[in-house]
Protein backbone atom coordinates (compact mmCIF):
# COMPACT_ATOMS: atom_id res chain seq x y z
CA UNK A 1 0.00 0.00 0.00
CA UNK A 2 2.83 2.42 -0.68
CA UNK A 3 1.87 5.85 -1.97
CA UNK A 4 3.71 7.23 -4.98
CA UNK A 5 5.22 9.98 -2.81
CA UNK A 6 6.79 7.33 -0.62
CA UNK A 7 8.62 5.58 -3.44
CA UNK A 8 11.66 7.85 -3.28
CA UNK A 9 11.86 7.47 0.49
CA UNK A 10 11.71 3.69 0.18
CA UNK A 11 14.39 3.68 -2.48
CA UNK A 12 16.69 5.67 -0.20
CA UNK A 13 15.87 3.36 2.71
CA UNK A 14 16.70 0.38 0.51
CA UNK A 15 20.20 1.88 0.22
CA UNK A 16 20.32 2.15 4.06
CA UNK A 17 20.13 5.94 4.00
CA UNK A 18 19.95 6.90 7.73
CA UNK A 19 17.52 9.80 7.24
CA UNK A 20 15.17 7.66 5.18
CA UNK A 21 15.28 4.83 7.73
CA UNK A 22 14.50 7.27 10.51
CA UNK A 23 11.58 8.68 8.52
CA UNK A 24 10.18 5.18 7.98
CA UNK A 25 10.61 4.40 11.65
CA UNK A 26 8.70 7.55 12.61
CA UNK A 27 5.96 6.72 10.11
CA UNK A 28 5.40 3.10 11.12
CA UNK A 29 6.53 2.64 14.71
CA UNK A 30 3.17 3.38 16.32
CA UNK A 31 1.32 1.11 13.89
CA UNK A 32 3.71 -1.75 14.53
CA UNK A 33 3.59 -1.16 18.29
CA UNK A 34 -0.23 -1.20 18.19
CA UNK A 35 -0.29 -4.44 16.21
CA UNK A 36 2.21 -6.14 18.50
CA UNK A 37 0.40 -4.87 21.60
CA UNK A 38 -2.86 -6.35 20.34
CA UNK A 39 -1.10 -9.68 19.81
CA UNK A 40 0.72 -9.90 23.15
CA UNK A 41 -1.44 -7.77 25.48
CA UNK A 42 1.51 -6.21 27.29
CA UNK A 43 2.83 -2.69 26.68
CA UNK A 44 6.32 -3.50 27.93
CA UNK A 45 6.61 -6.62 25.79
CA UNK A 46 5.15 -4.77 22.80
CA UNK A 47 7.82 -2.09 23.18
CA UNK A 48 10.52 -4.74 23.29
CA UNK A 49 9.25 -6.60 20.21
CA UNK A 50 8.66 -3.35 18.31
CA UNK A 51 12.30 -2.43 18.87
CA UNK A 52 13.30 -5.85 17.56
CA UNK A 53 11.14 -5.37 14.46
CA UNK A 54 13.07 -2.28 13.44
CA UNK A 55 16.40 -3.86 14.29
CA UNK A 56 15.48 -6.80 12.03
CA UNK A 57 14.46 -4.33 9.34
CA UNK A 58 17.83 -2.62 9.57
CA UNK A 59 19.78 -5.87 9.58
CA UNK A 60 17.90 -7.18 6.55
CA UNK A 61 18.46 -3.99 4.56
CA UNK A 62 22.16 -3.88 5.43
CA UNK A 63 22.49 -7.56 4.49
CA UNK A 64 20.98 -6.84 1.09
CA UNK A 65 17.72 -8.64 1.89
CA UNK A 66 15.14 -5.82 1.82
CA UNK A 67 11.43 -6.13 0.97
CA UNK A 68 10.48 -7.40 -2.46
CA UNK A 69 7.17 -5.75 -3.29
CA UNK A 70 5.62 -4.04 -0.28
CA UNK A 71 7.53 -2.43 2.57
CA UNK A 72 4.32 -2.14 4.58
CA UNK A 73 3.52 -5.85 4.25
CA UNK A 74 7.13 -6.86 4.86
CA UNK A 75 7.35 -4.87 8.09
CA UNK A 76 4.12 -6.36 9.46
CA UNK A 77 5.35 -9.84 8.56
CA UNK A 78 8.57 -9.22 10.52
CA UNK A 79 6.42 -8.16 13.48
CA UNK A 80 4.15 -11.16 13.12
CA UNK A 81 7.10 -13.56 12.92
CA UNK A 82 8.61 -12.08 16.07
CA UNK A 83 5.29 -12.44 17.88
CA UNK A 84 5.12 -16.08 16.77
CA UNK A 85 8.73 -16.61 17.91
CA UNK A 86 7.77 -15.20 21.28
CA UNK A 87 4.87 -17.60 21.66
CA UNK A 88 6.89 -20.55 20.43
CA UNK A 89 9.41 -19.81 23.14
CA UNK A 90 6.59 -19.56 25.61
CA UNK A 91 4.89 -22.65 24.07
CA UNK A 92 1.80 -20.59 23.25
CA UNK A 93 -0.02 -21.91 26.28
CA UNK A 94 -2.09 -18.78 26.38
CA UNK A 95 -2.33 -15.67 24.24
CA UNK A 96 -1.44 -13.46 27.17
CA UNK A 97 0.34 -14.43 30.35
CA UNK A 98 -1.44 -13.18 33.43
CA UNK A 99 1.93 -12.04 34.85
CA UNK A 100 2.48 -9.91 31.76
CA UNK A 101 -1.03 -8.52 31.54
CA UNK A 102 -1.20 -4.79 31.91
CA UNK A 103 -2.10 -3.81 35.45
CA UNK A 104 -5.49 -2.30 36.02
CA UNK A 105 -4.96 1.41 35.60
CA UNK A 106 -6.18 4.04 38.02
CA UNK A 107 -9.51 5.18 36.67
CA UNK A 108 -11.48 8.30 37.36
CA UNK A 109 -14.75 6.50 36.79
CA UNK A 110 -16.31 3.53 38.47
CA UNK A 111 -13.50 1.21 39.65
CA UNK A 112 -15.76 -1.84 39.32
CA UNK A 113 -16.41 -0.95 35.70
CA UNK A 114 -12.68 -0.63 35.12
CA UNK A 115 -12.07 -4.10 36.56
CA UNK A 116 -14.92 -5.51 34.49
CA UNK A 117 -13.42 -4.00 31.35
CA UNK A 118 -10.05 -5.57 32.14
CA UNK A 119 -11.73 -8.93 32.72
CA UNK A 120 -13.57 -8.67 29.39
CA UNK A 121 -10.29 -7.92 27.66
CA UNK A 122 -8.62 -10.93 29.28
CA UNK A 123 -11.57 -13.09 28.21
CA UNK A 124 -11.25 -11.91 24.63
CA UNK A 125 -7.49 -12.49 24.60
CA UNK A 126 -8.12 -16.02 25.84
CA UNK A 127 -10.72 -16.52 23.09
CA UNK A 128 -8.27 -15.34 20.43
CA UNK A 129 -5.86 -18.03 21.62
CA UNK A 130 -8.47 -20.69 20.95
CA UNK A 131 -8.97 -19.93 17.28
CA UNK A 132 -6.36 -20.57 14.60
CA UNK A 133 -3.33 -18.33 14.25
CA UNK A 134 -4.54 -17.03 10.87
CA UNK A 135 -8.02 -16.35 12.20
CA UNK A 136 -6.59 -14.41 15.15
CA UNK A 137 -4.32 -12.45 12.81
CA UNK A 138 -7.14 -11.44 10.47
CA UNK A 139 -9.29 -10.29 13.40
CA UNK A 140 -6.39 -8.30 14.81
CA UNK A 141 -5.52 -6.63 11.51
CA UNK A 142 -9.10 -5.92 10.44
CA UNK A 143 -10.90 -5.03 13.65
CA UNK A 144 -8.19 -3.89 16.03
CA UNK A 145 -5.81 -2.22 13.58
CA UNK A 146 -8.63 -1.12 11.27
CA UNK A 147 -6.81 -2.16 8.10
CA UNK A 148 -8.69 -2.69 4.85
CA UNK A 149 -9.26 -6.05 3.19
CA UNK A 150 -6.59 -5.10 0.62
CA UNK A 151 -4.02 -4.14 3.27
CA UNK A 152 -4.72 -7.30 5.27
CA UNK A 153 -4.32 -9.39 2.11
CA UNK A 154 -0.99 -7.71 1.41
CA UNK A 155 0.35 -8.42 4.89
CA UNK A 156 -0.87 -12.01 5.02
CA UNK A 157 0.19 -12.81 1.47
CA UNK A 158 -3.30 -13.85 0.38
CA UNK A 159 -5.89 -12.70 -2.12
CA UNK A 160 -8.66 -10.35 -1.06
CA UNK A 161 -11.16 -13.14 -1.64
CA UNK A 162 -9.23 -15.42 0.69
CA UNK A 163 -9.17 -12.72 3.36
CA UNK A 164 -12.94 -12.23 3.09
CA UNK A 165 -13.50 -15.96 3.56
CA UNK A 166 -10.96 -16.14 6.38
CA UNK A 167 -12.60 -13.14 8.08
CA UNK A 168 -16.00 -14.84 7.96
CA UNK A 169 -14.64 -18.08 9.43
CA UNK A 170 -12.66 -16.16 12.05
CA UNK A 171 -15.65 -14.23 13.37
CA UNK A 172 -17.75 -17.39 13.36
CA UNK A 173 -15.05 -19.26 15.31
CA UNK A 174 -14.59 -16.40 17.75
CA UNK A 175 -18.31 -16.19 18.45
CA UNK A 176 -18.41 -19.94 19.09
CA UNK A 177 -15.53 -19.94 21.56
CA UNK A 178 -16.94 -16.90 23.38
CA UNK A 179 -20.35 -18.41 23.87
CA UNK A 180 -20.97 -19.48 27.45
Amino acid sequence: MEEPAQDALLERARQADPAALTALYDRYVNKIYSYVYHCVGSAELAEDITGQVFMRMLEAIKAGRPWQTSFFGWLYRIAHNLVIDHYRERSRASFVDIDEAAPVQAHEGDPFQSVETQMNKARLHAALALITEEQAQVITLRFLEGLSIAETAEIMGKTEGAIKALQYRAVLALKRVMEP
Binding site: E47, G51, L144, G146, S148, V171, K175
Partner: protein, 68 residues
Protein backbone atom coordinates in the same frame (compact mmCIF):
# COMPACT_ATOMS: atom_id res chain seq x y z
CA UNK B 1 -20.44 -21.69 3.23
CA UNK B 2 -22.48 -19.49 0.87
CA UNK B 3 -20.34 -16.96 -0.94
CA UNK B 4 -22.98 -14.28 -0.48
CA UNK B 5 -22.55 -14.39 3.29
CA UNK B 6 -18.79 -13.95 2.97
CA UNK B 7 -19.19 -11.01 0.63
CA UNK B 8 -21.96 -9.49 2.70
CA UNK B 9 -19.89 -9.67 5.86
CA UNK B 10 -16.99 -8.02 4.02
CA UNK B 11 -19.35 -5.19 3.06
CA UNK B 12 -20.76 -4.90 6.57
CA UNK B 13 -17.42 -4.82 8.33
CA UNK B 14 -16.28 -1.65 6.59
CA UNK B 15 -19.12 0.38 8.15
CA UNK B 16 -18.18 -1.15 11.50
CA UNK B 17 -14.66 0.15 11.09
CA UNK B 18 -16.04 3.50 9.99
CA UNK B 19 -18.43 3.45 12.97
CA UNK B 20 -21.41 4.17 10.74
CA UNK B 21 -23.57 1.27 11.85
CA UNK B 22 -24.66 -1.93 10.18
CA UNK B 23 -28.43 -1.70 10.07
CA UNK B 24 -28.53 -0.07 6.66
CA UNK B 25 -26.63 -3.03 5.17
CA UNK B 26 -28.57 -5.69 7.02
CA UNK B 27 -31.90 -4.11 6.08
CA UNK B 28 -30.95 -4.58 2.43
CA UNK B 29 -30.40 -8.32 3.03
CA UNK B 30 -33.07 -9.40 5.51
CA UNK B 31 -32.65 -13.05 4.47
CA UNK B 32 -29.11 -13.05 5.91
CA UNK B 33 -29.62 -10.66 8.80
CA UNK B 34 -30.38 -13.37 11.37
CA UNK B 35 -27.01 -15.03 10.63
CA UNK B 36 -24.89 -11.94 10.22
CA UNK B 37 -26.22 -9.73 13.02
CA UNK B 38 -24.89 -11.86 15.93
CA UNK B 39 -21.53 -12.23 14.16
CA UNK B 40 -21.23 -8.51 13.58
CA UNK B 41 -22.29 -7.82 17.14
CA UNK B 42 -19.43 -10.04 18.30
CA UNK B 43 -17.08 -7.65 16.53
CA UNK B 44 -18.78 -4.52 17.77
CA UNK B 45 -19.42 -5.57 21.37
CA UNK B 46 -16.47 -7.84 22.09
CA UNK B 47 -13.57 -7.22 19.73
CA UNK B 48 -13.70 -3.47 19.40
CA UNK B 49 -13.37 -2.93 23.14
CA UNK B 50 -9.76 -4.08 22.74
CA UNK B 51 -8.88 -1.32 20.29
CA UNK B 52 -7.36 1.08 22.80
CA UNK B 53 -3.58 0.88 23.08
CA UNK B 54 -1.53 2.31 25.96
CA UNK B 55 0.77 5.14 24.97
CA UNK B 56 4.34 4.21 24.26
CA UNK B 57 6.98 5.16 26.76
CA UNK B 58 8.99 8.03 25.28
CA UNK B 59 12.21 6.82 26.87
CA UNK B 60 11.84 3.26 25.57
CA UNK B 61 10.66 4.48 22.20
CA UNK B 62 13.80 6.58 21.79
CA UNK B 63 15.98 3.63 22.73
CA UNK B 64 14.22 1.48 20.14
CA UNK B 65 14.91 3.84 17.23
CA UNK B 66 17.20 2.15 14.72
CA UNK B 67 20.65 3.59 14.19
CA UNK B 68 21.76 3.03 10.66
Amino acid sequence: MPLSLIELMAQCTDPILAATGINKYLDQHPEHAHVLRPLLETIIVEVQQLRSVPARSAAIANNAAPNA
